[in-house]
């Protein structure tokens, strides 16, 4: 049972992950069947809602933007053998940073204010993640537990700031005032005439750029090599002159910066004010996206797109089939994380036998 099973490289990289995701969706289909709806019809409605018309595609890509940032954040940490569950909290802090800049300088020119706000989002997210990173590296506190705790602390902090600091006098709603024109990231339909009106904004382009940067960082840079070495074998890394402690802190900061950038899409791009709950659990979707995309930027883009389709299509599906609420998306997320993550190697022995691979 504990004999290592070997698979051909293509099967290990493509077939097994595809099979895992397929099983996750098959089980999701069974759930749909169990509540008395047809999985095929539901899938057709979902795809039509997400990709069937221009507006749907816009919404799909808007969701995708969040998932690219969240997925990259989790993936960068994975490469160093770290598990950052704190994407939600880091995004909340990112929102606080972006909002502070946008509120203070909202009357200024966008070309100056927006880059500053983006940097603030990344910096606040990075800081919020670097603290657990530092605690892991220097004090040995497990980063999973501390990032969970930091999520709750961030949530309390955000509510406090919204209720007691950012809320304009006389307003009942826990949210900041609207940003000035300089603090609004342009929508894509404003830049490209003829596109339908959707929340899709410039941060989508930023997300694509971030994927390229992370690809270069992880696979083509000295730091990326150090990160991957620490993830594969910290002892060997130390022997090679790399400090795993230093890498842990740096990686958590990069991961937090990416998670913080989720706020760019939501706060600077769509809401144009700081609100509560704007992270909407997207940080956790990042875990599913990173697992499904095998922590590679190309895989993450595809997985993020898939979850974008699920979110947008799922919303439309809930209109047509009120029995299949948006909670179905959370079920699918859970199933993907279970089969593509925790039970990653469940089918490996069977697959090896099927492909004639040998044991031992």
């Amino acid at each position: 049972m504990s004999a290592p099973v070997t698979l051909p490289r293509w099967a290990d990289l493509a077939l097994l992950p595809a099979l895992n995701v397929l099983v996750a969706f098959a089980v999701a289909g069974l759930v749909v069947l169990a509540i008395g709806e047809s999985p095929l019809e539901a899938t057709a409605l979902l795809l039509r809602g997400a990709l069937g018309h221009g507006e749907g595609i816009g919404f799909t890509l808007y969701y995708t933007t969040n998932f690219v940032f969240a997925g990259l954040a989790v993936a960068v940490a994975f490469h160093a053998g770290l598990f950052n569950i704190g994407g939600e909290g880091q995004a909340m802090l990112g929102g606080v940073g972006a909002a502070m800049v946008a509120l203070a300088f909202g009357t200024g020119p966008g070309w100056l204010v927006l880059p500053l706000a983006v940097l603030a989002a990344a910096a606040f997210g990075a800081l919020w993640a670097a603290v657990p990173g530092w605690l892991q590296a220097r004090r040995g506190s497990h980063v999973v537990i501390t990032t969970i705790m930091f999520n709750f602390i961030a949530s309390a902090l955000l509510i406090y700031l919204l209720v007691d600091v950012f809320r304009p006098p006389g307003s009942m709603e826990p949210s900041s005032r609207l940003f000035g024109p300089g603090g609004k990231l342009p929508f894509l339909h404003e830049l490209v005439p003829g596109l339908p009106k959707t929340p899709l904004n410039l941060s989508f382009v930023l997300a694509l750029a971030a994927s390229v940067v992370i690809y270069l960082l992880i696979y083509r840079s000295r730091l990326g090599y150090a990160i991957r070495t620490v993830g594969a074998n910290p002892t060997a890394a130390r022997y090679g002159g790399i400090s795993p402690e230093r890498i842990t802190i740096i990686v958590m900061a990069i991961s937090g910066a990416l998670a913080g950038m989720m706020a760019i899409n939501e706060i600077l791009g769509v809401q144009h004010r700081l609100i509560n709950d704007f992270t909407g659990g997207y940080g956790f979707v990042g875990i599913a996206v990173a697992l499904m995309g095998r922590s590679h930027p190309v895989g993450i883009l595809l997985a993020a797109l898939l979850f974008g389709v699920l979110y947008q299509g799922g919303t439309e599906l809930a209109f047509d089939k009120p029995r299949i609420t948006r909670d179905m998306i959370v079920v699918i997320q859970g199933l993907v994380i279970l089969f593509a993550g925790a039970l990653e190697f469940m089918f490996k022995p069977a697959l090896a036998r099927l492909l004639g691979g040998r044991e031992g």
Binding site: I35, D327, G334
Partner: protein, 323 residues
């Protein structure tokens, strides 16, 4: 006198708020002491709350609810066990998956079955665990301090509260005074040594999963069938994670777990009381600050600034039998 009544009322409400934490905390204790990390306590409690409510609604019996609640959580605990023990998968990832499955499925099925946006109808009469008045309440009624203490804090809770409190000495006994407990602790520290003694590591770990499931079931059932008298989506509201914090705070020991959960429950009760109240000398304390306190305290403890929380040695590491 009025002050005492108020203090006792806060104490009683703190106790009630501590019960779900205590159940999840003890549940996590079994799992983590056996070497399996469990961040899926939240999901197991949530699923149990839903299962228990559905069963109590359809049978009209709170006890049936408790049984189904426990069974639901046990099933999820065994899935986690299968991923963590048999498949040697990543235990954090598996716990996360359990949380999401529970959150999604309960809301989805609740909406399909009851059509109230995920809520269930209210539980009434025998379908709910009602407060029990302990003997002595009347006799002690006129005794100052002790009388109200007995009436408000000791007596007047539903059955799951007493079951959860009884689970503390029981867990202590099982862990420190039985052969199984010795093996459980050993498996979490040094599974290879246990294996060498001819004892099955997976079997011990799976039995720990059963205990985890039963206790999560009790916690979830208490939340829905006793406290709220119905199921609402996300009724656990992060309690499974505070329990995880309490577990670290208690350094994975049962009696200290009770202390940590009571402390966190009391903090919660005080936070509810202090909403909008200005304290003399300090001014108004933001409720959020008190709500965040358990998490902040846990991080400080984890960082080793005040005492050191050292987890079981083999925690999170799948056991591979040597060949």
């Amino acid at each position: 006198m009025d002050l005492i009544e108020t203090a006792l009322a806060i104490l009683a409400s703190g106790l009630r708020l501590a019960i779900p934490l205590l159940c999840a905390c003890l549940a996590g204790l079994y799992s983590e002491r056996s070497g399996v990390v469990d961040i899926g306590l939240e999901g197991k409690m949530l699923a149990a709350a839903f299962g228990a409510t559905v069963a109590a609604l359809s049978t009209g019996s709170a006890y049936a609810g408790l049984a189904v609640g426990m069974a639901t959580a046990v099933v999820l605990a065994l899935i986690h066990g299968y991923a963590a023990i048999t498949q040697r998968g990543n235990q954090i990832v598996s716990g996360m998956a359990i949380n999401m499955l529970a959150a999604g499925l309960t809301a989805l099925l609740g909406n399909v079955w009851y059509r109230e946006g995920g809520r269930t109808p209210s539980l009434e009469g025998a379908a709910r665990f009602n407060p029990i008045t302990l003997p002595g309440t009347e006799t002690l009624a006129d005794v100052p301090v002790l009388g109200p203490f007995w009436r408000l804090v000791v007596s007047g809770h539903p059955l799951p509260v007493y079951l959860a409190l009884a689970a503390v000495p029981l867990t202590w006994f099982l862990l420190y005074r039985t052969r199984w407990g010795l093996r459980l602790r050993a498996v979490g520290e040094n599974p290879a040594a246990v294996d060498t003694a001819g004892i099955s590591v997976p079997r011990i770990r799976y039995s720990a999963m059963l205990a985890t499931g039963v206790l999560c079931g009790l916690g979830g059932t208490y939340l829905a069938v006793a406290q709220a008298a119905s199921f609402l989506p996300h009724i656990t509201a992060g309690k499974g994670f505070i329990a995880l914090a309490a577990l670290i705070f208690a350094k994975w020991r049962p009696v200290q777990a009770l202390g940590a959960c009571l402390l966190f429950g009391l903090l919660d009760a005080v936070a509810i009381r202090l909403q909008g109240v200005a304290l003399p000398g300090i001014g108004q304390v933001p409720v959020q600050a008190i709500q965040a306190l358990p998490y902040v305290l846990t991080v400080i403890l984890l960082a080793g600034f005040v005492g050191r929380a050292i987890p079981p040695k083999a925690i999170g590491v799948p056991y591979v039998k040597e060949r």
